[in-house]
Symmetry: C2
Subunit: 414 residues, 2 copies
């Protein structure tokens, strides 16, 4: 099937889904979850084909781990769909309704986005997750997954569509591009007539490629070069506990801490404590010259280090003379994700919250909390590091837009 | 000055403006308005230079009219800035604040977007208008106006910056690109490091070019192929009054009606009434075959007509057999701007409001009301026809984003 046909079908499905009551949407999610469980064998054997191919082509172990499916992982996918079914549907809420002086009643109503395109890498769990959130909010979905996971994705999508049909819902609510060439991806990114929004999910390279090539509006889910600033007079035990948590609780995630900024007056006491704990966790520190003079184990940082999202057991570290210098450094090098200050000073806390330009700004807490579940959204489609539409963890609301509904009785404009 | 330097200065100004209290912002707007009035002579003589150049290069009368400034138009610009000063500042509002089970207090606060780029045509009034709205919301502005208005724009920007400085505010809050080449525009559209959002203002060609070439998020302000559907059993006098208003009250605007959809049962009675009134206003009708058979003055429409935004004394007209057919036709050909139904039927009204996919959907009122002032926003930066971030008339809020502010006392993630 060509892309235009897929786009047309998605548009038709979107129109249908926008009018579907939430009870049917929840039924669809439950049947889809059931179908995933019933299709376990089919999915696992498709995944085996992807795995053999991946091993033969020399894929790294880390990527193979993300590609691999097990019975447990399929159960988690199915549970994810059930969890989304249990969330409140934001669609249909009228956010405001006011009467104008001329008697027009103008309301603003939450509605689905329409057709959402998801471009992602070889992570088959994204297939079910992204479908669930988009479907619950009444959007039709076109998925373009990585070619290394194509067999797994086909099997998962086949099961979900079967579940939808059993629930009496149009299968075209979910479509997968089976042609995974770069050419088709480029075309998808320019299918403005049929696709309302593109959401890339994956590494910095994928996201950058979508931002550069798409003419469709993109929600950028992003990289996180997250900082923790230890202020003069901070509770150093708290600082240490938060830094260890933010750096090592999970290494490869976008809200992990990548860089420390430390007030110089605390260096003498804090750096040895820090080095000891980080060494226990095998974290390498790339620090500025003065910190390196104090702690021989630190490695001298290069300019490149300040802007780097390591996603590894490495931290950069810079000493500063003031809150102003800390804020300026963070605002220059950060990626607009999550930033924290550890402080006892009221004014410094307020200034950090006000002046740091990022999706989430913390006082005395770990950056690891930037997450849809932790924020109470129940689930998330990603964490937006751009400023338009959605910023920070994106729950169901981020997958909706609004329209104005206007009730008149013959008004014309004078 | 090169573009990177301009971007850097804008970013610095944005950081400064984001912390500027509203009283200072209002002072800046008032001083800028005053400076425009004091600089009338300078602005008018600069405009004369643009006008002479435009006439020599054979610019059309319509475009020359939009380029021309008068004392009155400068007064209107200054009044516009004062009006924006009188509007409430949305920045700083905390939209929600909730305590999570772990004691984290998570709030969502409205903040400026940062640096806004405006790309527009040879309409010098946009220079002051766009500045006013962006400045009030704490954004730094980079303007790229049409080359035909460069002298006028330079003079206006010079006055505004002078006013800002007199108010004690950084002049770099507003910068104008004096190089108006296509090359510089292309570079501006890829200045992601410094520019947070681009807003093109102008015709379909300009907007299309920005959407296609920008890697910065774009707010698409759009074209309007707006429909009015006259339902079976509608109040035909009301329908006529609304159609005449929506088509002819102002011809060249995006919320003007461009296409009629009429239930076939009303054709016999309504089309003659309609033709008479439209003929009085010199509106040409391009209709489907059956309507043409009934009204000899109608011209047979081609497929192209259904999708056309005429911005002229022309209307397309199609007869349909049902509400469903009307909705399908409108959803296929519309541009997502403003659509209206004229009806007496409760269920039809509700279905039209629900099923039409557009920024503003009306029952029994003219599409001409889709406008920031008419919606009660006080002023607007444009009318968004895309679904991300803002949809419909964009007031001050559309020029803001949010950030999460999180108050902790040592929380780490388990």
């Amino acid at each position: 099937m060509n892309l235009t046909e897929i786009g047309k079908k998605a548009k038709e499905a979107a129109s249908y889904l926008s009018q579907l009551q939430v009870s049917y949407k929840n039924k669809g999610l439950k049947y889809a979850a059931q179908a995933l469980l019933e299709g376990k064998k089919e999915i696992l054997s498709a995944n085996q084909r992807d795995m053999i191919h991946a091993k033969m082509s020399g894929m790294s172990q880390a990527l193979i781990d993300r590609l691999a499916l097990t019975e447990e992982r399929i159960q988690i996918m199915a549970d994810g769909l059930l969890q989304v079914a249990s969330l409140e549907d934001p669609v249909g809420e009228v956010l405001s309704m006011k009467e104008r002086p001329n008697g027009l009643l103008i309301g603003r109503k939450r509605v689905p986005l329409g057709v959402v395109g998801i471009i992602y890498e070889a992570r088959p769990n994204v297939t079910a997750d992204a479908f669930g959130l988009c479907f619950k909010t009444g959007n039709a979905v076109i998925l373009k997954g990585g070619s290394d996971a194509i067999e797994s994705n086909k099997a998962i999508v086949h099961c979900i569509r079967k579940g939808l049909v059993e629930a009496g819902i149009r299968a075209d609510s979910l479509q997968l591009l089976t042609d995974t060439s770069r050419d088709i991806t480029k075309k998808l990114m320019r299918l403005n007539q049929y696709v309302d929004v593109l959401i890339p999910r994956g590494g910095a390279g994928l996201i950058q490629a979508v931002v550069e090539n798409s003419t469709i509006p993109v929600i950028e889910t992003g990289t996180g070069n997250c900082h923790i600033y230890v202020d003069e007079g901070a509770d150093l035990d708290m600082a240490l506990k938060i830094i260890i948590n933010a750096k090592t609780q999970r290494i490869g995630v976008c809200n992990a801490c990548e860089s420390l900024v430390i007030h110089r007056t605390e260096a003498e006491r804090f750096l040895p404590m820090l080095q000891k704990k980080l060494a226990e966790k095998n974290v390498e520190v790339r620090a500025d010259a003065q910190a390196c003079l104090q702690i021989p184990e630190f490695i001298l940082a290069s300019e490149d280090d300040w802007g780097k999202e390591y996603l590894d057991y490495i931290l950069s570290l810079k000493l500063v003379d003031s809150l102003e210098e800390a804020i300026a450094h963070i605002n220059y090098y950060n990626t607009g994700h999550s930033e924290a200050i550890i402080t006892r000073d009221y004014e410094h806390a307020q200034r950090f919250l006000n002046e740091i330009d990022a999706a989430a700004v913390y006082v005395n807490a770990s950056t690891r909390f930037t997450d849809g579940n932790e924020f109470g959204f129940g689930a998330e489609i990603g964490i937006s590091t751009q400023k338009l539409h959605a910023r920070g963890p994106m729950g169901l609301e981020a997958l909706t837009t609004t329209k104005y509904i206007i009730y008149g009785n013959g008004q014309i404009r004078e």
